[in-house]
């Protein structure tokens, strides 16, 4: 009789929110990484939404298929829109896959595999950063920079015919500032992600997580890395496609 009553009481208390244990069932550092990423998501969405608002309110805008039609680092200067940024997107998605494979190897406590997948992720990140450096350098050589735009002759290439020069100049100024600020902020995230990945890989090599008995740290940096990929998905759509 009394045991039956106890069992019933215990059953009531075993729901996730009845206290005594974390309702989220997640380690503290991982939960804090999620909340940090949430705040970072707000920062990036504020930037992207202000870009949207400025673009909506502009009478004209430089056409993405005309601004980004070259493949920097090669001799292709015209007629290849989206090719270079497609490569960048592929590199970043690929590095996300190697990251999630590192997490998967961590679940199996396979140190060697974790190291190789982490090195793959770092290489992917460095390749993405190099591509971005080429892209920035190309735009800079055309005359774009923070509050700097190309001369009137070059500017005309980026617009459909018949748009007055004053409108071209105003929207190009906004485009240049927003492009370098937003891709720069994203690139800075990629850069810090690469640094964090390198630190974690060194720790894996030193055997820190093997001693600790879990590769949970790989999951935490993995969350950050996927977030960087997630932001790029939006930057890609709103700067290169729309």
């Amino acid at each position: 009789m009394s045991t039956a009553v106890t069992q019933q009481v215990d059953e009531v208390k075993s729901t996730p929110w009845s206290g005594g244990k974390s309702p989220f069932d997640v380690e503290y550092g991982k939960m804090m990484m999620w909340f940090f990423l949430l705040s970072d998501a707000f920062t990036f969405s504020s930037l992207l939404i202000s870009y949207g608002a400025l673009r909506f309110s502009a009478p004209t805008w430089p056409s993405p298929s005309l601004v980004f039609q070259s493949v920097p680092g090669t001799s292709i200067e015209h007629g290849a829109p989206l090719v270079f940024v497609g490569l960048m997107t592929f590199i970043l998605i690929m590095s996300s896959v190697t990251m999630v494979l590192a997490v998967e190897a961590g679940h199996r406590n396979s140190k060697k595999e974790v190291v190789w997948w982490m090195i793959g992720t770092i290489i992917g990140g460095l390749m993405f950063l190099s591509c971005q450096a080429l892209e920035w350098n190309h735009l800079h050589s055309e005359g774009f920079w923070w509050s700097a735009i190309p001369n009137a002759h070059t500017l005309q290439e980026f617009f459909k015919d018949g748009i007055p020069l004053a409108q071209q100049q105003m929207s190009s100024h906004q485009f240049a500032n927003l492009f370098f600020t937003i891709t720069g902020f994203h690139g800075f995230h990629v850069f810090s992600g690469v640094i964090i990945n390198i630190i974690i890989t060194v720790n894996v090599l030193l055997g820190t997580y093997q001693k600790r008995g879990s590769y949970l740290m790989i999951e935490k940096v993995g969350l950050y890395w996927h977030f960087v990929d997630l932001v790029w998905v939006f930057v890609f759509t709103f700067f290169y496609l729309v």
Binding site: P16, P23, F24, L38, I49, P81, I93, M94, E104, L230
Partner: protein, 117 residues
Amino acid sequence: MSSETTHGHAAGAEHEEHDTMTKGRIWKVFFILLGITCIEFIIALWLAPTYHWPSHWINPIYIVLTLFKAFYIVAYFMHLKFERVGLALAIIVPILFIIGLILVLTNESHYWIDLRL
């Protein structure tokens, strides 16, 4: 998901069987992401210029496809689909506030363009 939790506890102290990312699933998600990106490229490079689709048609398509990609990254790569419902809600519900900012600023930008023209 909460029913799964209570079930896991009823079964005893044994670690709850966790549905998680396997290698096969990782590559499946990768090909979905790659496929969606390819669709975006086909629209941007071929369909839109050939059939002269207006931008107020294509842009919503791009945004929906982007949200699909975002779902796959967050749910599978970031593992949120396999976390407790409470954690998923704590992350996703605040994100919905962004919709408010989008509505306010698009409305405002229509006012700005009227001022400029």
